[in-house]
Symmetry: C2
Subunit: 357 residues, 2 copies
């Protein structure tokens, strides 16, 4: 690994109480280039622009995939990653589906730790605060031909993140738009999946909703995901989530919620969720909660479901009766080193670079 420290760090200008999530970049980034069939050296270097032509295949053909993960700082100042090996596995699954070279553990996990280590001062401390980390792979060859690229860049960039607390939102159950096809790339974190969702989401927002519950494209009769989150439904005291498939992203938060629910003795059924079942449960009062889960906000609680022109309200449970909030708390406590970690999910980021540099 090559480490080139910034000679012009911006950390002194960073105000952890006042910054814009997503647009504020830490001082460094990781890059690694692929050419002639192999990856080169992993480099930690100052964050910034690199020369790319508009003929770059990554923007022409969308041959690009990414991950989203977080680092948390505990009250002692120790920094932890959460299940990073899951993101490592998933980026390679995405890469495979997009005909891109897989990355190595050294590039992904060691690169991640080096970056978080060197820029640990950028990680805000306190409830809900974290560093949001974005590993990605994209095609860099300049070529105007729709074929597999011969050159790639693996990069890791990161931005400080604020409290994940969000107000309950209203979501629209899609009966026209969809995010994935049978035999498509829905289970990959493919760049193009996100752009495809912007316009339908915009239309939902214009109708007074915050997100879309994606349904299967052929019939729109089954729940798939919600926005960029996996979805859970609670009917009476059982929680349901659709099985992952080639159309549904295998979320790390989803998997963690399933394990945490089982640990609490909550019945979890991983099975297809018919829209009809949810609507009926809403009408007969057995529908208790519907929520989305993902790294960015952990849990987004839904207050209403839009369906065929109707806005169906969900009960507003007191916090102590909510499974969604209980599981969120269990997860956050593990992530931030406020609770035991019986699953071995936390990974300490050791202090190495600052001392040896």
């Amino acid at each position: 690994m090559i480490i080139q420290k910034s000679t012009n760090p911006r950390i002194s200008t960073f105000d952890p109480d006042n910054f814009s999530f997503g647009n504020t970049f830490i001082d460094h980034m990781v890059i690694c280039e692929y050419e002639n069939g192999k990856w080169g050296d992993v480099k930690v270097m100052p964050y910034g622009g690199l020369p790319f032509s508009p003929a770059m295949m990554g923007v022409n053909y969308g041959q690009a995939c990414f991950e989203g993960m977080k680092a948390y700082k505990d009250p002692n100042g120790d920094v932890f990653l959460f299940r990073p090996e899951k993101n490592f596995e998933r980026i390679n699954k995405s890469a495979k589906r997009l005909a891109m070279p897989e990355v190595t553990e050294e590039m992904f996990l060691d690169g991640l730790k080096a970056l978080v280590d060197i820029d640990r001062a950028w990680i805000p401390q306190g409830e809900g605060m974290s560093l949001y980390i974005r590993p990605l792979i994209f095609a860099t060859e300049e070529a105007l031909k729709a074929r597999i690229s011969n050159k790639y860049m693996f990069a890791i960039v990161a931005t400080p993140a604020k409290s994940y607390y969000t107000e309950p939102v209203s979501v629209l159950i899609s009966d026209f738009y969809s995010r994935s096809a049978n035999g498509g790339v829905g289970s990959a974190k493919a760049a193009g999946n996100y752009a495809a969702s912007f316009y339908p989401t915009q239309l939902a927002i214009e109708q007074g909703y915050e997100q879309i519950i994606w349904t299967d494209d052929a019939t729109h009769e089954y729940f798939e995901e919600s926005g960029t989150m996996n979805v859970f439904v609670r009917i009476n005291d059982t929680i349901y989530t659709p099985p992952t498939s080639e159309k549904i992203l295998d979320g790390v938060t989803r998997d963690s919620f399933i394990q945490l629910a089982k640990k609490r003795g909550i019945e979890v059924k991983v099975e297809p969720i018919p829209v009809k079942t949810v609507i009926e449960a809403q009408k007969n009062g057995t529908l208790k909660e519907v929520w989305g889960v993902g790294t960015a906000v952990v849990t987004s609680v839904f207050q209403a479901l839009g369906y065929k022109g109707e806005k169906l309200m969900l009960p507003s449970l007191p916090a102590e009766e909510s499974f969604a909030l209980a599981l969120q708390k269990d997860l956050v406590n593990i992530q931030t080193n406020h609770a035991e970690d019986p699953f071995g999910w936390r990974v300490l980021v050791e202090k190495k670079i600052m001392e040896t540099a």
Copy 2:
């Protein structure tokens, strides 16, 4: 329009008899940047890299779409575009579906003409030669948040293109992978659609096929497209092509073929093509031709269809009996100014820049 001529042109090194299509770039490119809700100046400038960070939304979320079109040089050295207004309409249709700002006629058509004009020396002359032109729009904002970008770049880059002559190919009728979902982005020239097709195409190549005939993702019972081309099927003396829809790209070549076929008095049916009908026609000898059409190669004739483990051969018609080749010839003659243009498809690129510069 701002014109900044290259002070270091590479045209003297260009050998029209020996160059690599897609990797050889003409001396200039067009760019135009979008910020604060509006497009800036259109610039013609030397082709090359621009500083983009790996946090660029275009590569993270695939918010990017493109066009593919050609300029042809006739024996007198006059240069023509082919139906450029169709590509202009289509890039804006793609942009809308991907929640991107539409481009203006000045940016697209005038930018195109200025670029082709300034670099007309790069257009190889002779049968099948042309300049392949790539207009594209991509999100340039640096932000780690899956939402609509606030900044974009419109660019036009181009590469000389060789003879479109291709050997007949074998194509595999897909019974698992698909390129578009109901309610998805199949009818947009969205960057992500292309990356999604690479892996399935690779698998088809490993089975001895060159391309995939995409079928509907829900049942795989209907033809959609072939590779990155629209598809035509001839049974007896009638030609069939699927209607365009939100899943099928509205190809300029497809539309031109339909009009040219009608002009020749060939019966054209624009209707869904069941895989079963094609297979039956192959078995009973009424299937005469299957071919793909698109700007890149105009026509790609198929010699065999792979279906459920069988390789079904197509007749090898003498050239004078082939509708595919007759229509291809009609089209190429119009494109290259070797025939009358009753449709008004050709657009002359006037000599302006070289003289005034």
